[in-house]
Point group: D3
Chain length 159, copies 6
């Protein structure tokens, strides 16, 4: 059976040694969804007029959040990110969030993509909470990753 690589044999947390890994192009895509109400979506869309910053604020927060990953997640390696994209897709009563993160470094960037999604989601939460305090950030997960020794992984349909 597998083991949690982030703790050693005695159970102590550690940042795993990746010195022996090869640098190389890696990509990770993560998604999530902020579920709220149709009324809130109308408000967010109205802000979609010229100069409306609501969605931009969440996009930018997500991009900046990706860069803060090693500050937030204790055992994550600090790595160079070569590209970050955060897409917001407003629906009827929800906003779908997709983050794509790239690196040419020694570890995968799933955590950076997940962090971008959650920080964008938290920022949407913050903006809508006065109108809908019951909003929910749901389904934050990795969809795909490419590169590294394990190669491409795509989320199985049954999860």
């Amino acid at each position: 059976m597998s083991e949690l690589s982030h703790v050693d044999a005695s159970g102590a947390a550690r940042m795993v040694d990746v010195s022996g890994k090869q640098p190389g192009a890696r990509v990770a895509v993560a998604t999530g969804v902020l579920r709220t109400t149709a009324e809130v979506l109308d408000l967010l869309r109205s802000d979609g007029l010229p100069k409306g910053d609501a969605l931009a604020t969440a996009r930018i927060a997500g991009i900046m959040g990706a860069k803060r990953t090693p500050d937030l997640v204790p055992l994550c390696h600090p790595i160079a990110l070569t590209g970050v994209k955060v897409e917001l897709d407003p629906g009827v009563d929800e906003v779908r969030i997709t983050a794509t993160v790239k690196t040419t470094d020694r570890t995968g960037v799933e955590m950076e993509a997940l962090t971008a999604v959650t920080v964008a989601g938290l920022t949407l939460h913050d903006m809508v909470k006065a109108v809908d305090p019951a909003a929910v950030l749901d389904a934050v997960r990795v969809e795909r990753k490419e590169g590294g020794k394990t190669g491409t992984w795509t989320r199985p349909e049954d999860r």
Copy 2:
């Protein structure tokens, strides 16, 4: 109809002026759940032995995450937190996360509680991803808040 207070009439983002609000005791409770597999839960529980740091790492990351909220969420006010608690409740194939945050300042601490939950959730994600890359952080939401002008709010059952 309500409006998004985080953008002004022209649609520009702003940090809302709360100078006129009264300082006072406020509490927020947020929850979320990391859904993974029973195998992973067994691993996390085995780390629950003396010195097993897996859950502790997530708890501490959540507490530290609460303090980073204004760095992450662009329009959040930087406020003094007077208490943060992050509880992890491992189930059969999931870990439930509950964060309770307190302040005596001028704004509510829902965002700090939500940030604590998501950072704890991301940290769990990070630790289990080698074994279960398909784990999902779900249902990140505010359960209750107390204090401030609006008083106590409890999540309605139908949301």
Copy 3:
């Protein structure tokens, strides 16, 4: 003659003791201008279409920058900000930047307003540098401050 309060009699830097100051409402307004070309202004304005994030990115960076002031300016006190607004006014070949910062704490917020202006300006610089590497951030200065023992100060016309 006055002295620099940030260094003691021996010349050593210090964070001045403000324990004896009274908390109270304070405001500071700072401005600056990014000088670039008419071509760049056209590009920035085109981004002013729905979803165009260029100016929003600078506004949000400025707001977040205000919160980072004590991390950047060594002798600044960490204080609670109760409101931050960053306004961008695109002209023919320049963007004027105005930041308004409020607090109810023990020190003035001129540095926070100036930091908001410069970070917004740096962010504009970053976005236009591929098209106009010769852009200049100019005239970063305090226009007005209110509150505190010294009361209201307005920039003299001859400076």
Copy 4:
């Protein structure tokens, strides 16, 4: 006509993908000037005695500021800096600031040099503001950059 590479076709902000760029030695030099009064310059110079920390504080703040660039400027890539120098040249009623930043990474370091200049300038602002609240940070601009695909760029005389 050129386009702003920091926003995509839909106008959404993104951190541009530089995965395909070659790492290599790059240098950027930026300058700025804090304009204040002759009286303030006398004070800063007196602090130039043994242990006088005023200019040192600004130099160090500038160096540390360069390292915070990706935290401040939303769409900047986090990159490894291999050298940072901040020079302060006090004149009659102004302090000229020059920052030189080096990297061996995939992007230029103009933003890091500009950030070093502005943070050093803000720190001078902070130290002199009690004596001269009307000080101005002016002419923050790139003077020269070397390396990368575009090679050496020197500021044209007419800008």
Copy 5:
């Protein structure tokens, strides 16, 4: 027998709830010493000439470090600091470090004073390590604290 207040009855880490504590003036003084060689002290003193930044760099790093305490020490409350002073006293083959930190907030500032001392000490370590890699940071401890419910505490002579 006393208990560790930073963990609850189940052993889980938490940021202790201080909502019920009274704000008030508090001071803490901490000290430490960097032990190195007489040769290094000569170098540090030579840098004590006009513009010599070695000791200033450590002083400023210590002051900035005090402000980063809640980012570094997981269970520390983020509080407003109203004054920070870091004194360096070079001896024959060592530099003594003293930090004094003040607040008017709800918790003591011993950790902020200790953090200022250690960050100043680390910075000295950094500057001397090329010449003396064997330097040691020793005796980092609280000397005195004032204010709060427990009042004044002075370090007992036998510790």
Copy 6:
């Protein structure tokens, strides 16, 4: 006689240019000790029961602290860390701290190892201070470093 490389000929602080250095595997090991009382050690050990987070909190703080080194130590280069381990060894009345840090970058990682030790030590300080305000962090020093042009260095026995 050697010179302090962190200041230039005029005494001004700088981040030394390491552009010409070769990337390569480097390791540094640093140690320190928190001296407290036997009573405190009993408390820390009792927390060593399932879910007892006291030592885990310090381990994790140390790992995260290593990543913050360039934010804290002004003239340190920001570099990629490829592995961090913090070991705590509780004795009769003290806790020994050992940090091992690895990189494949252009500079050594002694400062990162020392920072991990001190942040772990500060965190222990924080947790025991209510019971033993007189605790002391002692003997923070580099034990060994490997890699780079200077190769392996081991602490001499007489220091």
